[in-house]
Each structure stands twice: as structure tokens, then as C-alpha cells.
């Protein structure tokens, strides 16, 4: 029952967007409710990144409405959007860390630059140390992004995304280009973040393994690791799945429905299961 009473955090209503060609998003509608984990699968070029950027207000849809925390952001000006964005964490595909700043400066960036947050340098420093400890990279404060491995950069990206304690976190292909072991480490951090902070999350990926881990595992504070917990049986979050194909959502449903699907495009993702 509790699921129905949850308020929508992110809503796409018939959103379409194109850049000089076929639509990148084609009449996309979905809702992510508070406390939910939502995983969207899609191949390269299916519109995953564009969907997340539209949710952040970085791209404006040609038609349709986007609502975040109940606010319609579709026609908002950039200055107004800063306030909304301060409540959303975003992990970009390659981390998108600022090359010219140290890891500490990168993670402190939203704390010092978001108008609605305004941390003092001391508060920012404490929070930076805390989140870097969370992603187990507290020893990298003075380093530059170029000195870190791909997986480490991705973890710093997560630290930066969650530094302001946003109630909604968006993950853009968090494991793209990483080896399977590092990829699992990244997903473990995402699960830990979800279960410790009880945030709503939306992850786009092309790896079914990522979605399965998010759905079937939970963070165990006693051991500091993950423990199996079938989707929806544990307290707190529930994971829902969607599949994006050439800008259209072709599947919305539970893990069971996803795995039972006979659609060749959808089953391509499930077949990749390890």
C-alpha cells in the first residue's frame, strides 16, 4: 500500500526531442516515485543520456512536460533551474570531473557553488572527506582526475553527485567502459548510497548485470558489503525496469516481466546476464 502513497519525484509526460533528424526521445512518458530505484536499459544511441539530461533541464524537450519534485521544469529559465538541480545528483558517463581541479575541489564544487546550499569552506571540507570515505577514496583529496583510474574517477563522480545529499540521483551508464570487477564495485557503491540515504535513483545502462545487482542486492551495514535480497522483498526501495529503443520506451515493468519477455530487443539485455 505504501507504494501508492509515494509522491512522484520525476515525471515525463509525452516528452519528445530531436536534433536535426529522427526523434531522440519519442513520446516518452514515465514516473519515478519517491524511494524507487528505476533502471532504464538501452543500446548506444537509444537516447539514454538525452533522457537524463532532459530530466536535469540541460536539454529542453520539443514537446511534452517534465516535472521534478512536482515542479514543471519544461519552460524554466536557467537561473530557476539551478535551484531544482541542487536537489538532483548526477553521475555523468565518464565522470565529467573538472580536469583543472583536484579531487577535493571537484567534490566540494557543488557545495560551494550551489546558491541554495552555500557551505562554508570548513563545512565543505568535512563533507568532502565524508563522501570520499563513503566511496573509499579518502586518500585522493590532493590528486587530480588524470592521476586516477577510470573506476576511481567514476567513484569520485558519485561522491560529487551525492555531496549535497540530493533526494534524487541520476546515473548515466555508470559502468560503461569498465572491466566487470570494477563495474561491480561501482554498482556496489550505488546500492550502498541508495540503502544508506534512501534516495530515489534513476540509472540508465546497457548492462543487465547492473540492473540485476541493484534489484537483488542490498547493502549490509553489519558487514559493510552486499547481501542478496530479492527485488521488492526488503524494506525501503523497489526496483522497476524500463527499456528504451530508438527514443521510445518499449518496456515498463518488474524484473520478472523483463526476464519473461520474448521481445528480441528486450531479451538481448537479459541474455547478457552473467
Amino acid at each position: 500500500m505504501a507504494e501508492e502513497t509515494r509522491s512522484p519525484v520525476l515525471e515525463f509526460e509525452d516528452v519528445s526531442l530531436s536534433f536535426e533528424g529522427p526523434p531522440v526521445l519519442d513520446h516518452v512518458s514515465f514516473t519515478v516515485n519517491e524511494g524507487e530505484s528505476c533502471v532504464i536499459f538501452g543500446t548506444a544511441g537509444s537516447g539514454k543520456t538525452v533522457l537524463l539530461k532532459t530530466a536535469l533541464g540541460l536539454l529542453k524537450p520539443d514537446s511534452g512536460r517534465v516535472r521534478v519534485f512536482g515542479q514543471d521544469i519544461t519552460d524554466m529559465r536557467e537561473e530557476e533551474l539551478f535551484d531544482v538541480r541542487s536537489r538532483i545528483g548526477m553521475l555523468f558517463q565518464e565522470g565529467a570531473l573538472f580536469d583543472s581541479l583536484t579531487i577535493e575541489e571537484n567534490v566540494a564544487y557543488p557545495l560551494l557553488n550551489q546558491k541554495s546550499i552555500h557551505s562554508t569552506p570548513d563545512e565543505a571540507r568535512r563533507r568532502v572527506e565524508e563522501v570520499l570515505r563513503f566511496v573509499e577514496l579518502e586518500h585522493t583529496l590532493e590528486k587530480f582526475p588524470s592521476e586516477l583510474s577510470g573506476g576511481m574517477r567514476r567513484r569520485v563522480g558519485i561522491a560529487r553527485a551525492i555531496a549535497t545529499r540530493p533526494p534524487l540521483v541520476l546515473y548515466d551508464s555508470p559502468t560503461a567502459g569498465l572491466d566487470p570487477i570494477t563495474a561491480n564495485t561501482i554498482v556496489a557503491v550505488i546500492i550502498k548510497q541508495r540503502d544508506v540515504s534512501n534516495v530515489t535513483s534513476l540509472m540508465v545502462t546497457h548492462r543487465y548485470q547492473d540492473g540485476r545487482l541493484v534489484a537483488d542486492f542490498r547493502f549490509d551495514p553489519a558487514t559493510g558489503g552486499l547481501r542478496p535480497s530479492p527485488n521488492g522483498t526488503g524494506p525501503g526501495t523497489r526496483t522497476r525496469f524500463m527499456v528504451l529503443k530508438e527514443g521510445s520506451l518499449v518496456f515498463r515493468g518488474s524484473q520478472k516481466e523483463l526476464e519473461a519477455s520474448t521481445d528480441p530487443y528486450i531479451s538481448r539485455f537479459v541474455a547478457r546476464r552473467a
Binding site: M90, A96, F98, D99, Y109, N113, I117
Partner: protein, 254 residues
């Protein structure tokens, strides 16, 4: 026909929108003073050696060429005058701006272009910062501040380069050269010599930033943007100097 024109018109419109936004940000908070000083160091101090070298050899070559022409009229003594007018009015501002365009428009385009293709610009917007305020306005302010200063240095070094030639090769006395060079200059020359680099600075900085921010297509796109920035900035400098010279010539004519 209309489709053919659509793209260039759109580009010009977007360039002017960037210009307007960057200019508006000069009067709006937050101001990134640190970034302005860093850019002043990169553009101003960093360009100093090449500007000095260019200025010196420009003045020296001017003296050599003009002395040959002036000798036909027995007016070699006026070399200082010719060098100072040419350098202060035209060669100093234009060549300094071209050097800075080659060095910094390309640098801005490649730096911002790399940030664009690695989603750092999007990340900046997502983290509460206006990229124009943080990246474009400081570069524009820094260029507008240092380019006139670099031009003054280039002008002086250029006239000095002419003096070296006049003194050692043309056997003019220092007084002969410097007094002729000094007397030749009017306020109109000094005004246009300082106004030109100020106007060129907008072209140099904004063209670099514009091409950087519109980069697409990965590392290949960054290379393309860099080349386009240098070419467009250089062409704009020539266009602008033509129109500014025309205006000042009109003003100087009684």
C-alpha cells in the same frame, strides 16, 4: 537557397547571444576574480615573448623597407616617423591581436571544446554554475585588459626595433630617430592604436569561446573547433581593423 543561409545566420545569432550573455555577466554576480587573473596571466604574461619578438622584427623590417623607399627622396631621416605611424596605428594592434588569436583563441577553443565533449560543461550547469559566467566572461575581461597592454609593449618594441636598424644600418642619430618618431604621433593615432586592441579582444576571446562551446564530435571535433577559431578570429581582426581605420581616417580629416 534559404536552407543554405539558415546555418550561417543561426551561427551569427548564436555568437551575438553569447556576446550579449558574456557582456551582461560583467555586471552580474558572482564574479570569478581568480579566473580573471589566471586568464590574464595565461593570455598576457604567456603571450609576452611572442609579442615582443613580433613587435621587434616588425619595426626592424619596416625601417629597412621604408629607408629604401625614403632614400629615393632623400628623406631617410624620416624613418622614425614612418615606423612609428605604421606600428602604432596598424601593425602593432593587428599583429599583436593575430599572435594572441593564434595562441589564445585556439587555446580557449580547445580547452572549452575538450570540456564540452567530456560533458564538463554540462556538469558545470548541473552543479549550479553558468558556464558563460565562469568560463567566457573571465576570458573576455582578461583579454580586453591585457591586449591593449600587450599592444603598447609591441608598439614600443617595434619602434625600438626600427631604431636599431636606423642607428646601426642607416647611421641616424638617436635624437634624429626618436624625435621624428615622437613628433609623428597625434592623439588620433594613439587613440586608434589603443581602441583597436580593445575591440579585437572581444573577437579573440569570444570567437575562441564560441567555437569551444559548440564543439561536437569528440577529439576530432576539438581539432576542428580550434582551427575554425583561429581562422575566424584572424579574419574578424582584418575586418574590424578596416572599419575602425575608416572611422578614424574620417575623424582625422578636417
Amino acid at each position: 537557397m534559404l536552407d543554405f543561409l539558415k546555418r550561417p545566420v543561426l551561427e551569427v545569432q548564436q555568437f551575438y547571444l553569447l556576446f550579449g550573455a558574456a557582456l551582461k555577466n560583467v555586471f552580474r554576480r558572482p564574479h570569478y576574480a581568480d579566473d580573471i587573473f589566471i586568464q590574464m596571466d595565461i593570455i598576457g604574461v604567456g603571450s609576452l615573448p611572442i609579442v615582443i619578438l613580433t613587435g621587434f622584427f616588425t619595426g626592424a623590417v619596416m625601417a629597412l623597407q621604408m629607408a629604401r623607399a625614403l632614400s629615393q627622396y632623400g628623406q631617410v631621416g624620416r624613418t622614425g616617423m614612418v615606423v612609428s605611424i605604421a606600428v602604432v596605428r596598424e601593425l602593432g594592434p593587428v599583429l599583436t591581436a593575430l599572435m594572441v588569436a593564434g595562441r589564445n583563441s585556439s587555446g580557449m577553443a580547445s580547452e572549452l571544446g575538450s570540456m564540452k565533449v567530456t560533458e564538463q560543461i554540462d556538469a558545470m550547469r548541473a552543479l549550479g554554475t553558468d558556464p558563460i559566467q565562469k568560463l567566457v566572461t573571465p576570458r573576455m575581461i582578461a583579454t580586453c585588459t591585457v591586449l591593449p597592454l600587450l599592444t603598447i609593449i609591441a608598439d614600443f618594441v617595434g619602434i625600438f626595433g626600427g631604431f636599431i636598424i636606423a642607428y646601426y644600418l642607416l647611421n641616424l642619430t638617436p635624437t634624429e630617430y626618436w624625435s621624428s618618431a615622437w613628433r609623428a604621433l597625434e592623439w588620433n593615432d594613439v587613440a586608434q592604436g589603443l581602441l583597436k586592441p580593445f575591440v579585437f579582444a572581444f573577437a579573440v576571446s569570444l570567437v575562441g569561446c564560441y567555437y569551444g562551446l559548440r564543439t561536437t564530435g569528440g577529439t576530432q571535433g576539438v581539432g576542428r573547433s580550434t582551427t575554425q577559431a583561429v581562422v575566424v578570429a584572424s579574419v574578424m581582426i582584418f575586418f574590424l581593423t578596416f572599419f575602425l581605420t575608416k572611422i578614424f581616417t574620417k575623424l582625422a580629416t578636417p
